[in-house]
């Protein structure tokens, strides 16, 4: 019997993992290497922290219509789709706001504060709201011409959307494998023709053990949270990288982490981020998920729509 091939490596500012079981161990190892290369290549092209990346070049380009690779076009399309599906809550055109909040460079290795300290430094809790300009609407794709269309100055933040998208794209190449899981730093696509269930542990944003465990046969799960990257803002209060689109400031909504299930990793990422920004009163987990509140309370949300039905329809 073949054993599952595993890869673990730094990617997208975090740790990515790949798990593949093919019909033979050798084939699984080869497929894992190919998937790893794909993820690293996507990271190199979509990182906003590299001046050489295609994303940075697109964001700096003064033209309205910019020639782009299929991956970049898929990202632009995903940005539009995220805004549209979340009613503007998931807005990947807030790059200037994120940089103003202090997240101009990759914060790996930079001094940070704990989630508890960040929460204690901010008293107010309010749900997020869409930005009135809804700039994500201005982003379009011309597939025939191979270009991304957007007003000059509108910048795309790859963020979680790129992770979900890349997990889905990598998983598409693994459809024929017996089992697979592509984990882009928390955005995970799971499947395989063997139809085996895989356990998914939901991490504790406060650093404890897993807060919950899900089981997934074919679908995706993504987690969005404010705890991983917290720093002290210029005003002395805590800051993080998830902004309330309306205010352009780090969002403190009462939810510190949201985990969403969905047919695709991109959709799971959109639901998770929307659930985080909407706060405890939000209803953004149609396929179920897990919410962690400021105080560490865990809410397990039951699915209103079965994952399998939607996966078939998607």
């Amino acid at each position: 019997m073949s054993t599952e091939a595993h890869r673990r490596f730094d990617c997208f500012g975090g740790t990515a993992t790949i798990h593949i079981r093919a019909t033979s161990t050798e084939d699984g190892e080869k497929a894992a290497d190919v998937a790893r290369t794909s993820l690293l290549d996507a990271h190199r092209r979509l990182s906003r922290f590299s001046d050489e990346s295609e994303l940075t070049r697109l964001n700096d380009d003064p033209r309205w219509e910019v020639p782009a690779t299929p991956l970049m076009r898929a990202l632009a399309d995903a940005v539009h789709s995220a805004g549209s599906r979340s009613g503007g809550l998931v807005d990947a055109t807030l790059l200037d706001g994120i940089e103003r909040a202090g997240y101009r460079y990759s914060l790996d290795g930079e001094p940070s504060i704990s989630l508890s300290e960040a929460l204690a430094s901010r008293a107010e809790r309010a749900p997020g709201a869409p930005h009135p300009d809804r700039l994500w609407r201005s982003i379009g794709v011309d597939e025939a011409g191979g270009t991304v269309i957007r007003p000059p100055g509108v910048k795309i933040d790859s963020g979680g959307i790129a992770k979900g998208l890349v997990a889905d794209l990598a998983a598409e190449e693994l459809r024929g494998q017996r089992t697979y899981a592509v984990d882009c730093c928390g955005d995970i696509r799971i499947g395989g023709c063997a139809g085996l269930e895989r356990r998914v542990r939901v991490d504790d944003p406060f650093g404890g053990g897993p807060v919950h465990e899900l089981k997934l046969r074919d679908g995706a799960v993504a987690t969005s949270g404010i705890g991983r990257r917290c720093w002290v803002a210029p005003d002395g209060g805590g800051a993080h990288h998830i902004l309330d689109p309306a205010s352009g400031e780090p969002a403190f909504t009462g939810i510190v982490q949201a985990t969403a299930l969905a047919p695709t990793a991109l959709l799971a990422e959109i639901y998770a981020k929307a659930a985080l920004l909407a706060g405890p009163a939000g209803r953004w987990l149609p396929h179920g998920g897990v919410l962690v509140r400021d105080g560490g309370e865990v809410d397990v949300i039951a699915a209103k729509q079965p994952l399998t039905e939607l996966a078939a329809a998607a």
């Binding site: 019997m1 054993t3 975090g14 992770k163 899981a181 356990r199």
Partner: protein
């Protein structure tokens, strides 16, 4: 014939019919019992053959194959080859069964952790 004699003959006829029926019943039971015993014995033999690995179908096939190929050319070696071929076939069958069993109890995929991105 007087009425008493008539009744007596009638009784005798009834006795004969009863006796015939009883004999027929005994014969039927005997036939059923013998059939069941034969059936059980036959299947018992087949079962023992299969349980000890002497499948007659496999035995015939391997013999035919050997006759068609190597046996015709090298009659001296043929005496040992059926045993080797049988052993090989057994090993192959065992390996196949093991592979199917392993596939059926495929290892659970490794768990993954979703954390905030």
């Amino acid at each position: 014939m007087d009425p008493l004699e008539k009744i007596d003959r009638k009784r005798q006829a009834q006795d004969r019919i009863r006796a015939q029926r009883e004999r027929a019943g005994r014969l039927k039971s005997r036939v059923v019992a013998i059939s069941l015993i034969c059936f059980a014995l036959l299947w018992g033999v087949v079962f023992v053959q299969m349980a000890t690995g002497n499948d007659p179908v496999l035995g015939d096939t391997s013999t035919v194959e050997l006759e068609k190929s190597a046996f015709a050319k090298e009659p001296v070696e043929a005496e040992t080859e059926p045993v080797e071929a049988e052993a090989e076939a057994e090993a192959e069958a065992e390996a196949e069964v093991e592979a199917i069993e392993e596939e059926l109890i495929e290892e659970e995929p490794a768990p993954v952790t979703t954390s905030q991105s």
